[in-house]
Structure formats: C-alpha cells, structure tokens
Amino acid sequence: MLKSTYKPSAAALQPLLPGWTEHKAPTGHTYYYNAATKESTYKRPAAPFAPTAIAPQVNLSDPNIANAFLAQNAPQPSHQSSHRGGFGGERGGRGGFQPRPRPQPTDKPRSKVAIPGHEPWILVYTKLNRRFAYNPVKKASYWRIPEKLMPAILELDQARIRQKAIDETAPTVTTTGETTVPNRPGAAAPATTTEPHDYDSSEYEEVEVTDSEDDDPSRPKRQRTSDDPPSGPVEFTEADIAAQLAAMNADYNSYPSDSDQDEDDGPPPLSESDATALFHDLLTDLRINPYTPFATLLEQPTTADKLTSDLRYLVLATTRARKEAWETWSRARMQALKDERARQEKTDPRIGYLEFLQENATPKLYWPEFRRKYKKIDCMKDGGAAFGDKEREKLYREYIARVKTSVGERKGELKGLLAGQGARALNSATVVPEGVPAAVRADVRWVVLDRKTRDEFVEGYVRGLGPPPEDEGQGTREEEEAAEKAREERRKRERALEDRERAVAEEKRRQEKRLGFERARLREEERELEKAMVVDKKGLRGQLAGERMEE
C-alpha cells in the first residue's frame, strides 16, 4: 500500500509545514521528518490550501466515494451519453474495481467555465480530461457534480457538442477547447438532442471530496450544498484550482492501493536487503576468493568483466555500497572457511598432524629425532586413545616413503584416493582445498604433494566430475529446512530483480514510443510550418506583384 508514495505525489505542489523536511529513505520512499517533534511520516505534511483542503482518508475509504474517483478517472467521453460501465451504480464495495490509471500527479486545470445560473460555481476541466465542480467561495471541490448544477452543466455539454459540430463543418477554425465554450442555449443542434439525459451517470453524482465534516451519512449532503449562500465575487486563479486539485490528488494518493497494475509506478524498487543479498549471491556464484581485496577484483579485467556484466552488480548503485556489501560477504565467507577447517581438524586429529608433516617432515630426520625436535608442538602431543604415538610414527614413515617417490607417482596415488570418494563428498561444486572432505584430508596421500601442485591437480580433477546429487538427504532436517528457506529467499529476490528489469525495459519502451510520437509531431509541425512559409512567400510575391502592377 506504500506504492503510491514511490512517485512524487501531486501534493508536492504544496509547501511543507514549517519544521518539516523531506527525505529519501534508502528504499526509495520519500518521507518527512520533523526535527523538533522527532515525528516522521510518509504523508506529506503540507500547508492546507484552504480550510477544506485536508480531507481525511475516511472519505475515500468509502467505496461509493472511491467509485466516484474511478468514474472520474475513466477517460472522459466527449459527451455524457457514453456508457460508464456501471461505476456509479457499483455499491458492493471494491470488488468491482477495474484496472485503472492512477490520477496523474501532473494533472492540472486546463480550462474552466462558469456554470450559468449558478454563480459562483464553475466547472473545471483538467489536463487529464477530468472535471470537477468548484465553488470558489466555499473553496470546495466536487468530483461529482452536485445535482442542482446538473441541468446547467447538461446545457453546457450540449452546447459544447453543438460547437464541436460547427467546428467540424468549418475546419478553418482551430479547435478552441472548453475555455471558450460559451453557453449557447439558442444554437440549434438536432443531432444531439436525442441523447438520453443520463442523470444516474456517475458523472453527475455528487460526492464531496474535500470536506471532512460531512461524514455523517444521516445528513443529506445535497441539502448542505444547496444551502450554500452564494456570496459576492471572489478572486479565483488558475493557481487556486491547481492547489485544490493537488489536495484532491493527495487524498487520492493516500488511499491504499490494492492494485498492482498501476502502469505509471516506475520500476518496483528492490529492498536494500534484497539488493545486498543479490550482490552477495553474485560474489558466491562467481566463486570470488573472499581474501582478494576489493580493489583487485575491479582491477583484474576478467573478474571485473564477469562482475560488471551481471545484472546483480547494478542492484547496488554506488561503488561504496558495493564495497560495503563485499566486505560483509568476504568477512562472513572467510569466517565460514575458518570454522570449517577447525571443525575438520577437530573431527580427525590426523588432519592437523599430516599438515604439520607436510610443513616440517624431511627424510633427513628419522622418526625419533623428529619427535624429539617437535615434542612441544600441539599436534605431537597426546591425541587420545584413537591417535597416539604409534599412529604418528606409522604416518611419518608412510609420508617419508612417499615423499621420495616421483611427483607423477604421488599424483597417481592421490587420484586413487579421490576416486574412492562418492559424488556427494566430491563433485564439480567442491571448493578446493577447504571443501575437500575430511576423509581425504586425513589420508597421507593428501599431503605428499606440495600444496600448490596438489590444489591445482585436485581442482582439475573435481572440474571433471558431475554436479552434486540433487537430493540432500544427509543433512539434518533443520539444515535441510534452513537450506530450503535460503533457496526460497534467493528465488524471491531474483524474481524481484526480474520484475524490476521488466519494468525498466517496459518504461524504456514506453519512453521511446513517446519520443517517437513527439518526433513525429515535431516533423508534422515542421512540415506545416514549411507549408505556411511557402504560402507566405507566395503571398508576399503576390503582394509584390500587385504593387508592381500598381506602379
């Protein structure tokens, strides 16, 4: 329901009340903050244009009134005989809502016309072909025409239609629009008199939009409006109407929208946490090394290309934001790796011991010498009943024996060890070396190659394996649930990203189309201008010729 706040509200036309400032939330919402009272709100705390300008939402939550809006938002027909699709008669609540365009925030009065016999009432037409009745004395606006004004407005409409007919038969007259529509009750226009006087049409229904006190249903609204005493002439400007219209739109915009079909909402923004999570997904998917400095990532052409060509790179708008997201991700990832290593070493004391051998064992030392030399090192001390000195000596001898063989032989032995692992333990998704299962790391064959050679060899080996098996029946139920939840959340934010991209593309298409129209119109105008110039020249020539003749 906050959707309506994403776009600049029409209320932006109104100045903020003193003490309030406008802010942009990271999510894109505009909100308002009062430093003195520490209040914040999404609803623009604007200065009321007129005593009646601040209408409570309650008016609009009334389905009848809401329907009145809908009726007015439907494209205004050129005359009242058009079918209204039953908007006015719809009393059953909001179920019958049609997808409709939201009133444009840019709507503004286009023209106004006095309602004959009902001064000071005027009928205001807006740029979006809406119209409302306005009483400048009361400063009250009505989207739906008060009943007492209906006959007069009907007259106006008929006059307009007649005028239009006249205009069409005389194309040299430029279309004047409603501003100049005079009340011509005398003009004859037989074609239009057959139209039914659709008094039930919503267009003529009275709904008070901007007056808050009139909520009481027991009080007949019509009575009230008809009681208005017409007073003397009032200053009334376009700006007045504009502000009034803004107030009306503001009310409308604060009405919670339950429709997702609004066309002019712009791209649905991603939440900050979704954007960050998407960026994290990208880093994980690209198997970015969490130890690599952020600057290096962007300096290395291949990595930079991979990163920047992904949509998810742009969900965060600034390099600073990206760096912050990377920092969080990298820290978490390094911690996870550290934990995993610690866990593996705890699982099997042989892992730590073998790594120690890899660093320090040498064929120059026999086992007793080696043991004496490193007796103070943790992994040389008692490892419990399962891993004592006997086991250490055995591994030492195995290690020394293997180190003396050729690298090719050692690789062959390691390959044999890897081949004995199941697809669940080792697969194409295995991260080398930290993702290698403990069973492998606790084997002497794992440490007999130097780390770099080994990791490259193993990396090549796992790349040739298939993907991890689909069913993950080995984890606990909680782990599975957490994993499923994480997957679902990821799907959700990816959908949000897709939606946004679609909306962006759609908006771009629309803009291009609009641009196309504009260009076409411009060309048209240029052509007409050219034509006019030609005529003018001819005219001039003709005139000159005439002058010459006179001479």
């Binding site: 130097d450 780390r451 990791d455």
Partner: protein
C-alpha cells in the same frame, strides 16, 4: 642419502597461504611493473611513489587479514612477514594512535626532511588551512593523520 627436495618444499608456507597466493602474485606483478615503468617525464621524487603505494597496499592487505578480519593464522602471518610480503615496521606503527593510516616510514622521519619535522601529510586536517591541498614529496600521500 636424503633425497633432494625442491627449494619450494623446504620452506613450505603454513596452511592458508594458498588462499592468498594469487593476490600476492598480483601485488608482486604490480610491483615489478611499477619498478620497470619508464619515469623519464616524471619529477625524480615522484618515480618512487607507485612503489611506496603498492608496498603500503600489500602490507595493509596482510595487516587487515590478520588483525582486523582475523582471517589468517598467526603462523601464516609471521611467515608472510618473514618472507617480505609485509613491512613489520610499518605495521607496528599502525597499532599506535594517530598512526593507524600512516603511509610510510619515511614520512615520520624528521632527520631527512628540510625542516627537521615530519612530513606535511602527517599534519592533522584540522590544523591545515581550509581546502589546502597537500601531497607529500616522499610517497605522494595526501594526508594520513588519523585522529581516532
């Protein structure tokens, strides 16, 4: 007779080195490029700047991994210092208040400068005139005093 072991094997780096290996290589390559870069049209004192900067970056990288992010083990950290991947003297300064971002050791040596004082980049921003744009001669630093 003991088998001859390759030099790389004799001083195998501790566990975790492979995580950093590639990035350290990138730093080394950058350093080589900086050393070999033509510096004919540069003022003499500026020629050394890139080298100071890369050295600073690499020390910073290792310092942060160990102290700030606690992502590498002490044995690995010490091995890196011993093998010249980071400058222990500079890192020692970073632990002192006001020196957390120190650019290089030269900038705090008073003897080498003309005025017997530390480098201009060590002057706190609050002391400098407003909008005064500074850059030190020794390493190109634009200010490395930290107040907190």
């Amino acid at each position: 007779m003991p088998a001859v072991r390759p030099a790389s094997k004799r001083k195998a780096p501790p566990e975790g080195f492979s995580d950093l290996e590639e990035d350290l290589l990138i730093f080394s390559n950058k350093m080589k490029d900086a050393q070999n870069a033509p510096n004919d049209n540069l003022p003499r004192h500026q020629a050394q700047w890139p080298i100071f900067q890369i050295s600073h970056q690499r020390s910073r990288y290792i310092y942060e991994l160990f102290y700030d992010k606690e992502a590498i083990s002490r044995p690995l950290y010490e091995w890196l210092l011993k093998n010249g991947y980071a400058d222990p003297m500079l890192i020692a300064k970073w632990k002192k208040q006001g020196y957390e971002k120190l650019c290089c050791l030269r900038c705090i040596q008073t003897k080498e400068t003309n005025f017997n004082s530390t480098c201009i980049c060590r002057v706190p921003k609050t002391v400098l005139k407003e909008d005064q744009d500074i850059q030190c001669v020794s390493c190109g630093c634009r200010g490395c005093f930290s107040s907190s």
